[in-house]
Symmetry: C2
Subunit: 246 residues, 2 copies
């Protein structure tokens, strides 16, 4: 099945039509994917990915104020008036258990929106890597690993995570027939995969947001397979389809 | 200077503003870059990269019919009524010597247009790789290697060429501070750089166009540093600034 997998390097690196009827894994390691996985792990009922503040406000008017929280960042900083930023470490069990999280982030939620024609969308990160790999191993359809990236550009941490997924799926032996995007991600993972934490600490993201995003956040997001949570978008809400917490 | 270099994975993977006042190397190995380098090597006076057939027609009305040729392809096939396709092997000395070439291709010429805010644009391929490396070694400004890609997606051959340039510039030892895009390209080159021809023969491009683009074309475009031609865009025309043939 490895030859049915491609990697798109950013949310702008494909036409929406290219996604139609395919399975998508959306990867935004720093930090939307990691935050979604963590919030669900800590008992959040679901996550609604919103594209901007207007949309968040509109949806929130139809919900009971006690049932949801607003999380989000713009260029790494918590949005004024929101309950939480986009740090997974803020999404503790105390805070999110039983709540629906409305999440508004710079690149990750936009990437999900650009995949709206997909057959299914799941959310991948290092934190739930094994769960993603296991899910894909049993899937018989074309798969696109969509890296969120940053302003259209690729992000090291997202391609590295995609490369790790590819590496596990082919057990380190990528066939010649693999797609271009899979080869690029695999090459990066072979080069930097033995020290993900240090690679990510020297990434453009870490350098750009060094005064805003804590080292604890980076270290947390680099941990591999600490949970089996498998977030999937169904009817506008992202919930865990592995269901371990339910 | 290696830390001043980034790689953009496709013509859609940046905002035009991100290019402002930077030096760009546009890379479209299959085949716009390779064709431009070859045409200039074979004595073409210059190349005008046009975005579509309308523009080609408009410009050609102002030129002496004997002074130029129209080259171009749409999805790999020669455009109806054009003198030549986008095969470098068609651009022989007999055919192009002394002529201006109007080149219209699917991704390469569009990539050049998206870089219009750059301080300078040069054209890179495997064919003129050493000339590019030497030029960049002496350049004291921020450099973007812009891979043309395909319909917004990355193309193996372009990232591989960018990775080869990065590899030569850092003599195989990429510093930790290198940009994300440089790391991705370097990783791919480390993985596949020892057999560029076979890597490119199994690329998405080669598979997609296997009935249209000859193996001779692919093999030709994989040759490293067979010429010192250094195409650069000045006032709308791409000419050789190394000037070896003049």
């Amino acid at each position: 099945m490895i030859n049915q997998i491609d990697v798109f390097s950013s949310a702008h690196s494909f036409k929406e039509e290219d996604i139609r009827d395919k399975a998508v894994v959306m990867i935004d390691v720093l930090r939307a994917s990691s935050t979604m996985v963590t919030a669900l792990q800590n008992g959040a009922k679901g996550i609604i990915a919103v594209e901007d503040m207007d949309e968040a406000s509109k949806i929130s008017h139809n919900l009971d104020a006690k049932s949801f929280m607003m999380s989000g960042e713009k260029n790494g900083v918590t949005i004024d008036g929101y309950d939480l930023g986009n740090s997974p470490l803020e999404h503790t069990e105390d805070v999110v258990n039983g709540k629906t999280i409305m999440l508004n982030t710079t690149n990750g939620t936009k990437a999900i929106r650009r995949c709206s024609l997909a057959d299914q969308i799941i959310v991948g990160s290092f934190l739930n890597l094994d769960a993603i790999v296991e899910y894909l191993q049993n899937l018989d359809e074309e798969v696109l690993l969509v890296c969120a990236g940053w302003r259209g550009r690729l992000s090291l941490e997202d391609i590295l995570c995609a490369g790790n997924i590819i590496y596990e799926l082919c057990e380190g032996d990528l066939p010649n027939e693999a797609r271009d995007g899979a080869k690029v991600a695999f090459g990066l993972y072979e080069k930097f995969g033995d020290d993900i934490e240090n690679s990510i600490k020297s990434s453009n993201y870490a350098v750009r947001l060094k005064d805003i995003v804590s080292e604890d956040d980076l270290e947390y997001c680099c941990q591999r397979s600490i949970t089996d949570i498998l977030p999937a978008l169904k009817e506008g809400i992202i919930t865990d389809i592995n269901g371990k917490k339910q």
